[in-house]
């Protein structure tokens, strides 16, 4: 009974003439091997690692206090002391960009976790039980597809309040459907496999079959989908901040900083430039990383 995707690790079959059979490796190691060959994805991983370090460092140290007003002149251009210049209230942009990293990463990862939990649970239930349960869940998914994501997020943020967790919940509510639909499809096909039948015959409970047998076997596509949730969540979060409904001020975040920059675009350009650049690079990195992951773990899927 195959319960997990990891194949038993076997020694390399070596003969005098060299390696004859291909070494049997787990899905994970095989995926990692393929990912390593993708230069663009590797660069993205390095960039994201640096970003994570910056986010952690910003908890303990920033060059100036990110919310301290009047440290330098209003709209002061980049100088040695303030390499990214200063904003409208004379706050140090570098410090605020560093703190903004935390917000963007938290929005991306937090939303991905919520979407993972909700989407996987709902999708497994719909795909495994089928029938009326599936019909209701599919109807809900279709209704959510029928309304523009950003509007739902805006209403939810207003309803729940502008906290970071609330923003994650609001963003999740707009993008959980893809995950649910993917997992539903996986569950629909996996439930017909022999090992699931065997598990059912041996008296395993539904919960055990769903999370112990179907979920692990659908892990590859689920992880790939989850990595694509991250950039979409960061983007939606930036849009919310840009429209003034993101994390409440004075908390620095990239979308809000870009919004302040656009307001001042006729006077100075560095205020809009740096948060925009940071956002764009981060989203690019997550997308390249996600593409690399998909090619590595899901080689059958065409680009």
């Amino acid at each position: 009974m195959a319960t997990t995707i990891t194949a038993p690790a076997q020694p390399v079959t070596e003969y005098a003439g060299g390696t004859l059979a291909r070494e049997q490796v787990s899905l994970w190691r095989d995926g990692w091997r393929r990912l390593r060959r993708n230069k663009l994805a590797l660069v993205a991983v390095v960039y994201l690692a640096v970003l994570a370090v910056i986010a952690v460092v910003a908890f303990f140290w920033t060059p100036y206090k990110p919310n301290a007003i009047g440290i330098c002149d209003t709209y002061a251009p980049p100088t040695g002391a303030h390499p990214f210049g200063c904003d409208e209230l004379g706050r140090d942009s570098l410090s605020r960009l560093m703190v903004g990293t935390q917000v963007s990463l938290a929005e991306g990862l937090g939303t991905a976790i919520i979407v993972l939990v909700v989407g996987v649970t709902v999708g497994l239930i719909a795909g495994y039980f089928r029938g009326a349960v599936d019909a209701v869940i599919s109807l809900i998914i279709n209704i959510f597809y029928g309304i523009p994501a950003l509007l739902v997020a805006l209403v939810l943020v207003v309803l729940l309040g502008q906290g970071l967790l609330n923003i994650m919940i609001a963003i999740s509510a707009t993008i959980w459907m893809d995950m649910a639909r993917l997992v539903r499809g996986q569950a629909l096909s996996l439930r017909e496999r022999e090992y699931i039948e065997a598990a059912r015959a041996s008296g395993a409970k539904s919960g055990k079959i769903l999370f112990g047998h179907i979920f692990p076997n659908a892990m590859g596509p689920i992880i790939v989908q989850a990595t694509f949730v991250i950039p979409v969540a960061i983007l939606t979060g930036a849009f919310l901040s840009f429209l003034g409904l993101g994390v409440p001020p004075p908390q620095a975040d990239w979308g809000g900083m870009a919004s302040e920059g656009v307001a001042a675009i006729r006077l100075v350009t560095h205020i809009v430039a740096f948060p925009s650049l940071a956002l764009s690079l981060t989203l690019l990195a997550f997308n390249f990383f996600g593409d690399g992951l998909r090619d590595a773990f899901d080689p059958r899927q065409k680009r």
Partner: protein, 321 residues
């Protein structure tokens, strides 16, 4: 039209109606349960506030209020604005809808145009530098937020170009910073439409490229080539037509994401469309307008998705419902 098609359309219309009911009630209940309303700013207290709330019917239970809204909505009356005194919402929203549709339509044309062109060229030059450049542009497309592209455009065309370009070329090059008129002109529309359309064009590029690569391997393409047809004819008449089916499949989500993107773009460029109205209504507690705009959007998307599904049968006669 076969009987199956009619049944299918009937089901889809039913889904649209259910969606409209659920969405409008959800938003209605949500915004009316919010603390605070648009009358707080008028320094009304006690009995006076109660009188105003009573005048607008806001002191009644939410299901009753929703029932009233529904009765009006069926007759095309979405009620009155709380903030703009005596302004009826239906004509307001319809005018703004036409502005948004102008912008969204232009963005959709740009998205499909750029996306399919890039996708076809990338597929024809698979694994060459042309392919890599175009697919990278596609990833950049959906990685760069639309407001970044918008500000880049403003910097380039409205601010960086010196003043004399205005006098030399008129407004053909110099981009006006403030939106003029209700609908703007083609020059004004160009920048927001490109900023809006570029984001989604990346998805179209990928789908088109993948679909083209899939199609050109099939037998009928080899047959067409063997018949001695010119390569361009094979590409456009045989391959592209079949590659359009997957592209059509993302047309619905494409329209939804263009609508979402227009909320941001309209606010940057000051375009008086539905997206700008929505943000205004929600930040100024003008909740009747919020519900109205939301309902219109849901209706629009429902109709667009139905249209896309019917378009399938035109592009690919093998598809039947």
């Amino acid at each position: 039209m076969t009987r199956g098609t009619l049944i299918y359309i009937g089901q889809r219309v039913l889904l649209i109606v259910v969606t409209l009911l659920v969405v409008s009630f959800g938003v209605f209940a949500a915004v009316h349960s919010l603390p605070g309303n648009s009358f707080i700013s008028e320094h009304l207290h006690g009995a006076a506030l109660q009188a105003v709330l009573h005048q607008y019917g806001l002191d009644r239970p939410i299901p009753v209020q929703y029932w009233d809204f529904l009765k009006g909505a069926i007759h095309g009356d979405l009620g009155n604005s709380f903030v703009i005194q005596g302004e009826a919402i239906t004509p307001l929203v319809l005018r703004e809808l036409s502005v948004s549709m102008e912008l969204g339509g232009a963005a959709l044309i740009i998205t499909i145009g750029i996306g399919m062109l890039f996708g076809v060229v990338a597929a024809m030059r698979q694994n060459t530098w042309v392919d890599y450049v175009l697919t990278t542009i596609a990833v950049i497309g959906y990685s760069v937020p639309s407001f970044v592209l918008a500000s880049l455009g403003i910097l380039l065309f409205a601010l960086a170009l010196p003043d004399w370009t205005f006098s030399l070329f008129g407004t053909a090059i110099g981009y006006p910073l403030r939106w003029q008129g209700t609908y703007g002109d083609i020059v004004q529309l160009s920048l927001p439409a490109i900023a809006l359309g570029f984001y989604t064009s990346g998805q179209v590029t990928r789908i088109t490229r993948a679909a083209m690569l899939d199609v050109v391997q099939q037998d009928f393409i080899r047959t067409a080539r063997a018949k001695g047809l010119r390569s361009r004819v094979v590409t456009i008449r045989h391959a592209l037509r079949n590659a359009m089916v997957p592209v059509t499949s993302i047309l619905g989500p494409l329209i939804v994401s263009i609508i979402a993107g227009s909320v941001v773009i309209e606010n940057i460029f000051g375009i008086p469309g539905l997206g700008k109205e929505f943000v205004r209504s929600i930040t100024s507690h003008d909740y009747n307008v919020t519900v109205g705009v939301f309902t219109i959007y849901a209706l629009l998307i429902g109709i667009a998705n139905l249209g896309v599904d019917l378009l399938y049968t035109v592009i690919d006669p093998r598809i039947r419902y």
